[in-house]
């Protein structure tokens, strides 16, 4: 199992390096002088341009430039934000909390609501809960987070006035209150997908012979459903949850922008609009790394849930 995880981690690292080459390469695909692009076309002096060329080794061949750039990043120097006139690290760090809180809140909603809903739909198949949840999920799964965000703001923040539509509040309970509407907007379509997959997987598991056997042996309905059927139904649920959490990360950008939250996503949007290239590069790398780490986490969970993978790990991709 250790070997399996090491292999996954190594391939993750390779992909991360490859994607950093892509992020780096785009700077040179852009028409014009990379030094001027890093300055976002602002008026500058020859000295300032020369300083940037020196710092990023822009007069050297591309591989040397990449290594210079990458080793700076590994040392924690993500460059300077032109717009904020500060280092990217200083601009980025205070905003991480909001984005992490929002994404974690949405992921929690997705699991805590989505999985029980899927189980209930499977156990009471074709009952009122199932019909309502399945039809609802079908529609909601097609609604992107930015549309839910805008509609939720219009209905629950403006028309009904139940929730605030702007900002993250003043920490603690107030922050949870402020983030509730954004988290719902972010979680809705993910929740629909998770509950659909849980339902299908549970229906299959409830029809297996060992569940039948457990029933015949007289175990209680609750024990059969949760202990026997759900355990084997869990693998597809974990897979889809991992994929969907990746969507949540991207979705958070749009939701933060719609709700005017001061997270990394809103920073990214402002930086793209203001052509603040160093910030965009840093955020792209950060999100890609998070995305890959989540995938690795899903692989670890597989090994924990399914003993077959632990034993035959080497043959598993």
């Amino acid at each position: 199992m250790i070997r399996y995880l090491l292999r996954r981690a190594a391939s993750m690292l390779l992909v991360l390096i490859a994607s950093s080459v892509v992020v780096f390469g785009f700077l040179h695909l852009a028409p014009g002088d990379p030094a001027k692009i890093l300055l976002a076309g602002r008026p500058t002096t020859p000295q300032a341009l020369e300083a940037i060329r020196q710092k990023y080794a822009l007069d050297q061949p591309l591989p040397v430039q990449y290594v210079t750039w990458a080793s700076r990043i590994i040392q924690g120097d993500l460059g300077e934000s032109i717009k904020e006139r500060d280092t990217v690290i200083h601009v980025l760090t205070p905003r991480l909390g909001t984005t992490l809180a929002l994404t974690a809140y949405a992921a929690l909603l997705m699991l805590v609501v989505g999985i029980p809903l899927g189980i209930a739909s499977a156990v009471y198949r074709s009952g009122p809960v199932d019909v309502l949840a399945s039809t609802g999920a079908l529609v909601v799964a097609s609604i992107p987070a930015y549309v839910s965000a805008v509609v939720l703001i219009a209905v629950f923040a403006v028309a009904l006035g139940w929730f605030p539509a702007l900002g993250v509040g003043s920490g603690g309970i107030d922050m949870v209150y402020h983030l509730t509407l954004p988290a719902i907007a972010l979680a809705l379509s993910a929740l629909a997908i998770v509950s659909r997959v849980t339902r299908l997987s549970m229906i299959e598991a409830l029809q297996t012979e060992y569940v039948e056997t457990a029933r015949i042996r007289g175990f209680s309905g609750r024990r059969v459903v949760l202990k026997h059927a759900f355990r084997s139904a869990l693998i597809p649920v974990v897979t889809i949850s991992g994929v969907v959490v990746g969507y949540l990360l991207s979705g958070a950008i749009l939701v933060e922008y719609a709700f005017g939250l001061n997270g990394v996503g809103a920073l990214l949007v402002g930086s793209v609009q203001g052509l603040d290239y160093a910030v965009v590069q840093a955020i792209a790398l950060l999100f890609t790394a998070e995305f890959l780490i989540i995938n690795l986490g899903v692989d670890v969970l597989y090994a924990v849930i399914d003993p077959r993978l632990r034993l035959a790990g080497r043959s598993v991709r």
């Binding site: 992909v15 785009f26 549309v147 805008v150 219009a154 990214l268």
Partner: protein, 267 residues
């Protein structure tokens, strides 16, 4: 044809007609500003009301259909024109070519799609063309991966061996035989991609990365409505409904086409 597919196709045909005949259907110039009636609610003259600059929302929605549908069309065209040959090449040739192409696709999949798009927009500047390219970059490898799987199955069928024995070259076998045999698979994918690409493009446009004002598309209309939500909350409904309705329509049509494809594959 199931009822859901009929609904999907009907909505798509309706939207395409609206987009094509926009100047005839829209009651007003979509950019005509009339500040005296800003935020006016629905009336007989303006069935969906007017926005913060007094522009007719129905006319903007009708004209907005043009870019909102043209964008995904271009993305799907690019995905097909580039992704299908790459996928067939990878699946048919195998070996190092397959390895190289498949690993390159993996790198694209490693990015959360929106982040790759953001890097591309930051590089080339916002605009309709940029977001089409940015989204196409994600859909080319998606299409290529599906086509690759199909091409592997096809290239192990006896007819391919028969063609090889007769001395046909790889290019001819791929272009004239394997490609056409994958048509149903590809068509099913294009309909699904169309819906998702529409969502992605509208999202990028919502962030201000796409068409610049005053040109309307549904994503930027949604952004504008969100900006004005305290004054006119109901103005979010038309663009939101247009986006969701078209995505549902394309998903229903796409599911039906994919179903057809998998059924004809089994035969």
């Amino acid at each position: 044809m199931p009822k859901t597919a009929i609904f999907g196709v009907a909505v798509i045909v309706g939207f395409v007609i609206v987009a094509a005949l926009a100047p005839l259907i829209a009651p007003y110039d979509p950019s005509a500003i009339d500040l005296s009636s800003a935020f006016a609610g629905p009336s007989a003259a303006h069935p969906l009301g007017q926005d913060g600059a007094g522009r007719d929302i129905l006319s903007r929605l009708v004209f907005g259909a043009r870019l909102s549908l043209l964008g995904p069309l271009l993305v799907v065209l690019l995905a097909t024109l580039v992704g299908v040959p790459l996928g067939i090449a990878a699946g048919y040739a195998g070996g190092w070519l397959d390895g190289l192409l498949s690993r390159s696709f993996d790198v694209v999949f490693a990015f959360p799609a929106l982040l790759l798009a953001a890097v591309i927009v930051a590089t080339f500047g916002p605009g309709f063309g940029t977001i089409v390219i940015a989204v196409a970059v994600i859909y080319v490898p998606l299409m290529a991966r599906v086509v690759r799987a199909g091409a592997i199955v096809e290239s192990h069928k006896p007819y391919v061996d028969a063609l090889k024995v007769q001395g046909f070259g790889a290019l001819r076998i791929c272009a004239a035989h394997i490609g056409p045999n994958l048509t149903t698979l590809i068509v099913g994918q294009t309909a699904l991609y169309f819906g998702y690409a529409l969502l992605d493009l509208a999202g990028l446009s919502f962030l201000g990365f796409g068409v610049q004002p005053p040109t309307p598309d549904w994503g930027s209309m949604l952004w504008y409505a969100n900006q004005q939500v305290y004054v006119a909350p109901s103005a979010v409904v038309p663009p939101a409904a247009a986006i969701v309705l078209s995505v549902v329509a394309f998903n229903l049509a796409g599911d039906w086409l994919s179903d057809l494809a998998s059924r004809s594959g089994r035969r």
